[in-house]
C-alpha cells in the first residue's frame, strides 16, 4: 500500500521485474494457491445461488455445478407460502433494527460519558463495565437467570443482553478522547450541559466510528442463533430466520440418514420425496439469509481494519 502511495504511480512495474527464476516459480505457485483459496471460499455460495434458480429435479440430483440450468424463480415465490417463514423474517429484521439502534446509542453515550472526568467515580464504573468482557457465567446459569428476569419467550430477550457491549464502548471512548478538548470547552463556557454537549457536539463528530459499530452490531444481530435456541423454546412465532434455516437442514439431514439406513423401499420413496422438495427450498432460504450480509459487504469492507481493532484495543 505504502509503496503505491510513495512511489511513482504512473510508472507501471512489470510484476516479473527483478525476479530470479526461483522467485518466479514461487510467484506462480502463490497465484495458483490463492486462486484455490478464493475458489474454496466463493464457490459454495455460487453453487447455492445457481441451484436455487435451476430446475428442481436437476438440483436435487446434484447436476447443477457450473451454471444455472432451466432457470426459474418459483422457489422464491413459493417461499412466501411456507408457514412461519415470513414471521421469522420479520423477527430477524426487527431484532436487527432495534438491537443495532440501541447498541449504537448506548456505546456512543457511555463511551462519551466515560470521558467525563467530572463524573463521580468515573474510573470505577468504567472498570465495572469493561471487565464483563473477560468472564461469563456459562450458558445454563445465564439461561436460568434470564428466565428469572422474564426474558425467555420474550422478544426483548434478543435485545437487552446485547445492548451494552464493552468493546464498542471502549472504541467510542478512545475516539472521544482523541477529539480536541476545545470542541467541548467552548460549548461548556456557553452553558451547555452534559446531555446537550453529547447530542449537539459529540454525536455529530463521532459518526465514522458509529458507522463501524452499527455494521458490526447489525451483522451480529442478524447472525445470532444461540439466544433463539436457549431462550425461546415455547414461542415458535419468535423464531428467527437463522433458527428456521437450521431446522430445515437438520430435518433434511435426518431424512437423508433415514434413507441411507433403511431397507424399507416405501420409506425410501417417501423420504426421498420429502427431502427432494426441501433441497431447492432450503437453498433459496439460504440465499435469502446470506443476501443481506453480502449486499452490505462491499460497503463495510473499508471498516475492516477498524473492526479488527475492536478486538485488539485495551481497556
Amino acid at each position: 500500500m505504502k509503496r503505491m502511495k510513495e512511489g511513482r504511480p504512473q510508472k507501471r512495474i512489470n510484476p516479473m521485474d527483478r525476479l530470479s527464476p526461483g522467485d518466479r516459480v514461487v510467484s506462480v505457485i502463490t497465484y495458483i494457491v490463492y486462486a484455490f483459496f478464493a475458489f474454496v471460499c466463493a464457490y459454495p455460495f455460487y453453487y447455492i445461488i445457481i441451484n436455487s434458480i435451476s430446475a428442481n429435479n436437476l438440483s436435487e440430483r446434484g447436476k447443477v455445478l457450473f451454471w444455472p440450468m432451466e432457470v426459474h424463480f418459483k422457489n422464491y415465490s413459493r417461499m412466501v407460502n411456507i408457514p412461519g417463514l415470513l414471521d421469522a423474517a420479520k423477527i430477524s429484521v426487527l431484532r436487527t433494527l432495534v438491537g443495532t439502534a440501541l447498541t449504537v446509542l448506548t456505546a456512543s453515550f457511555l463511551g462519551y460519558m466515560f470521558t467525563r472526568e467530572t463524573m463521580w467515580k468515573r474510573k470505577l464504573w468504567f472498570r465495572f463495565v469493561a471487565v464483563t468482557m473477560y468472564f461469563n457465567a456459562g450458558i445454563i446459569p445465564w439461561v436460568i437467570c434470564m428466565r428469572n428476569l422474564g426474558l425467555n419467550n420474550n422478544f426483548w430477550g434478543y435485545i437487552f443482553p446485547m445492548v451494552v457491549q464493552p468493546f464498542y464502548i471502549i472504541l467510542c471512548k478512545t475516539y472521544c478522547e482523541s477529539l480536541p478538548r476545545e470542541l467541548q470547552d467552548a460549548a461548556e463556557i456557553d452553558g451547555a450541559g452534559t446531555l446537550r454537549l453529547f447530542l449537539s457536539i459529540i454525536l455529530p463528530v463521532i459518526k465514522p466510528i458509529l458507522a463501524t459499530i452499527a455494521i458490526f452490531a447489525a451483522v451480529n444481530q442478524w447472525n445470532a442463533f444461540q439466544d433463539n435456541l436457549l431462550l425461546m423454546p415455547n414461542r415458535p412465532e419468535l423464531n428467527t430466520l437463522q433458527y428456521k434455516l437450521y431446522q430445515y437442514i437438520s430435518q433434511a439431514n435426518s431424512l437423508k440418514a433415514l434413507v441411507s439406513n433403511t431397507t424399507n423401499s416405501n420409506a425410501v420413496m417417501a423420504g426421498l420425496a420429502t427431502a427432494a422438495t426441501a433441497t431447492s427450498i432450503r437453498m433459496s432460504v439460504t440465499v435469502v439469509v446470506v443476501l443481506p450480509v453480502m449486499l452490505i459487504y462491499p460497503f463495510f469492507q473499508r471498516f475492516f481494519t477498524k473492526g479488527i481493532m475492536i478486538g485488539a484495543v485495551k481497556g
Binding site: 471460499c41 446434484g62 463524573m119 446459569p141 445470532a224 444461540q226 433434511a252
Partner: protein, 305 residues
Amino acid sequence: MRMNPKKAQAIREFLYILPFLILVALMSYYPLYGWVYAFHDYMPPKPISSETYVGLKWFQFIVSNPVRAADVWRVLVNTFAMSGISLAFSWFPMIFAVFLNEIRCKPYQKFVQTVTTLPNFISWVLVYSVAFNVLSSTGAVNSVLTSLGLIDKPIAFLNSKEHIWFKMWLWLTWKNAGWAAIMYLAAISAIDEQMIEAAKVDGATRMQIILRITIPCILPTYFVIVMLNIANFLSNGMEQYYVFQNNFNRKTIEVLDLYVYNIATSGRGNYPLSTAISMLKSVVSVALLFITNTVSRLVRGEGFV
C-alpha cells in the same frame, strides 16, 4: 441545603449512566448468581430452597459416577484436541497474509482478500447450510467425484465420525482465516519501507526478506494471538459444534461448551450438573487468562487485558 455545583454535576452525570450500569449488573453480573444452582437439586420449574441444598454433591458426582467421569474425560479430550489443532495451526493466517502481501497484482490481491473474508460474516448456521449443500450425498463434491469415476458411492462427509476434529478445524479456518489475515496485513503495512529497500540494495532475495524482515516484524502480533488462543483453550463456543453435530459424530464432536448444553437439555435435563461443570470451566478460563496475560507482560512488557 445546597450542594456545591461541581458535586451536583458529578452526581448528575453518574445518574445519567446509572440505568446502563443496572442493565450491566442484570445481564452480566446477575448470571453469576446462577452458580448457586450447582449446589442444589434443582428441577425447573420448582424453585430452589434450603431443602434442595445438597452442597458439593454435583461436583463429586462428576468424578464419583464412573459413566459420567468417562463422559467428562471424552469431552475434555475432544476439547483439548480441537483447541490443540487450532493452536498448532495458528500460524496459518499469518503465512496466508505474508504470501498474500507478496502478490504484486493489487486487484488480484484485493479480490482474494475480499472473497476469503466473506465467510467470517455469515453465521455458523449458514456455514452448516453451505457445508450440507456442497458435501451431502447429492452435493457438488460427491457429484464431481462420482462423475469422474473416483468413487462409486457418495462419501458421507458430514454424517460420519471420521477425522471430525480436523474437519471442524477446516471449517473454522474456512470461516476465519481471511479475517484473521487482515490484522497481519495491517501489521505488515506498518513495517518501515526503508528496511526492505535497504535489504534489496544489499541483494536480499524475496524469501530472505520474508524470513528476516516481514515475519520477525509481525511476530509480536502472532504472539498475542497465541496467548489469546491459550486463554480460550476451554472455550470453543458451542454454536459450530451444535450445528455440525448429528447421531454419527456426537461422541467425538462434543466439546465442553456443547456438553454443558447437551446435559442440560437432553432427557430430563440436569441443570445443576451442567452448572457445576461450567463453573469449573469458568474458573479455569479466568486462571488461564491471568497466566497468559502475565506471560505476555513478562515477554512483551505489556499485557493484553
